[in-house]
């Protein structure tokens, strides 16, 4: 599904990713853990195609295509989804309008017919109930005045709605209480199937108790320094990053 080879990325002349290798096969959920400043968010933005991240070297193959050559919207319609760490507000843009515009863009990309307002409402309401979201969230501006938890839920709603092949969750667990955390985990777990994979970026092992990853990778100074099974997350929690980083060095 996703194969990253020797990725080197600079932001304003500063090297952030420095020879990163990572392969996520179809149907698997991988976790990336690492200390602040290790390049976790940069990795998610580079994969999603945000401007300002200069790829110096390396390649990313997504579903057989050269991901780095694609425009951000083409990456999205090809099935790549990023749940943002801090989703922006779009003042005045109704959440329902936004979600429907997004869903129809994705559906067009998949060669499916667009949904009209009624069909859309039916679909979105089903997904919202599962996430414990109230109808009024559709009427509000996108993320406008949303609490941290509401924003994260709105990200999960978009993921459930757009049904990507590959989802990146960029610290979706930060600032969430345990109930919200479970909802996030339930959403991801409900999507797990042989055609779906995910990259869960997190600081803490807490989320990984609920989304049990197939592999855990530790990112430090722009590269993966060690990988393992779910037990690696527990080890990190117990020993801290410093020990693991030192041992790998």
């Amino acid at each position: 599904m996703l194969r990253i080879e020797n990725l080197v990325v600079e932001v304003e002349g500063k090297r952030i990713l420095d020879g990163l290798h990572l392969t996520v096969p179809s149907g698997e959920v991988h976790a990336i853990m690492g200390p602040n400043g290790s390049g976790k968010s940069t990795l998610s933005y580079v994969l999603a195609g945000r401007e300002g991240y200069e790829v110096i070297d390396g390649s990313v193959e997504f579903d057989g295509q050269d991901l780095l050559a694609m425009e951000p919207e083409l990456r999205a319609t090809s099935g790549l989804f990023l749940a943002f760490q801090s989703p922006v507000e779009l003042p005045g843009v109704g959440n329902a309008t936004f979600l429907r515009t997004a869903l129809n863009a994705i559906r067009r990309g998949r060669g499916e017919s667009e949904l009209d307002a009624m069909q859309f409402l039916k679909v979105v309401r089903g997904k919202m109930t599962a996430l414990g979201m109230k109808d009024e969230m559709l009427k509000r501006g996108v993320n406008e005045g949303f609490s941290g938890g509401e924003k994260k839920r709105n990200e999960m709603l978009q993921m459930a709605l757009l049904e990507p092949k590959f989802a990146i969750l960029d610290e979706t667990d930060s600032g969430l209480d345990i109930d919200a955390l479970k909802l996030v985990a339930d959403t991801v777990n409900s999507m797990r199937n042989p055609g779906f994979s995910a990259l869960v970026i997190t600081h803490y092992q807490r989320l990984l108790d609920h989304i049990v990853p197939d592999r855990v990778h530790v990112l430090s100074r722009g590269r993966i320094i060690t990988s393992g099974g779910p037990e690696l997350a527990h080890k990190l929690e117990a020993e801290g990053y410093a020990g693991v980083v030192k041992a790998a060095a």
Binding site: A48, E51, A102, A105
Partner: protein
Amino acid sequence: MAAVAETLDTVQTVTDGGYKWGFETEIEMDFAPKGLNEDIVRFISAKKEEPQWLLDWRLKAFALWKTMVEPNWAAVGYPPIDYQDAFYYAAPKNKVVPKSLDEVDPELLRTYEKLGIPLREQERLQNIAVDAVFDSVSVATTFKDRLHKEGIIFCPISEAVRDHPELVQKYLGSVVPQGDNFFAALNSAVFTDGSFVYIPKGVRCPMELSTYFRINAKSTGQFERTLIIADAGSKVSYLEGCTAPMRDENQLHAAVVELVAMEDASIKYSTVQNWYPGDAEGRGGIYNFVTKRAACRGARSKVSWTQVETGSAITWKYPSCILQGDDSVGEFYSVAITNNRQQADTGTKMFHIGKNTKSTIVSKGISAGRGQNTYRGLVRIGAKATGARNYTQCDSLLIGDQCGAHTVPYIENRCMTAKVEHEATTSRIAEDQLFYCRQRGMTQEDAVGLIVNGFCREVLKELPMEFAVEAQKLLQISLEGSVG
């Protein structure tokens, strides 16, 4: 950021290809000789077979105009206008005045169809009465009979002069006098047609009334005059739309609109202004120098102006309300877009005279390319306007770094018990907002459209349903190419 650089690049490459209304209709026209003098004023009046009082009224206006100078306080720049180098009268040649759509030149019907105003269908299917003004004259008015049954008069103003002289004579110039300003004086001297509306006491107009203005002929100014009178307890919603062919010369459009609302009457006046804006280099386009004013004469009367200004090379207009009646209400909701080299200096004036008068101003300016957008507004509260209230909100949205947004509010308060509030914000479409939308599969252009429509939501929701969707599309088209 890179997004901005890309934005600017694309703005540079924008051409007028985006203006879909730029075609020209081949039709035989009747012109007055080029230039402006007393004889031309007499010529227009004679062409329209006007009564003596109106000719005298025009000549007085012309005499005033000659003593006036063009205003230069607006934040717009353009080379001097040669008022002698234009035609002041241009009308499709048609010996008989059409009595029904069947008698209208098919070429004209086709023109309006191309503009998305299928007059025939409009008459059959939609609940909107349309007066179609082509260059200097009204060519068709739909739904006349049905409105007539309610006692409503909706017709070209030239026809109203003939059939309802007492109403026209009483109200013409009563809100915008001939000598009000340079362009209003010019209009008063040479106005050719426009719409006239009278809603009798207690009548709620059962449908939207709409006038569609089209400038077609070359080197022609358009000077239409609209007069709407809502008698006590009546209610009406009126919409105007406008387009013009693409030409590399500048054409002058100097309209005057007068609204009169009596006791408990309410007028909602919506404009979707889409005159040709000129090309990317600023060649051509309409100079839209318009005077619009409403008199809320009666107690509890209400006038609401809503405008979506996307076209014109230069826009100079300040739809205003004179709040004479106690408890009368004035509203102004505006979206103005300037892209490429467009310039807009627009806003409103709210004169609070009666007690407990209320006004609301919501202005949304969007600047892209090298566009310059100025909100200029006056809130004046007289000494006797106890309990008057005003709320003003001016928001500007910038796309790129070569455009400008300016806010010039004037507040004059002579009343201790009045309350005046003013809020203003300036923002940009942020790179992270665009990226967020694109990550959800939208193109950059769709993303800008979505964000801009969100920015304008408070104003767009004031438009009649039928036109809100059209206006949203228009906003997007106007900004086409302003981002990559």
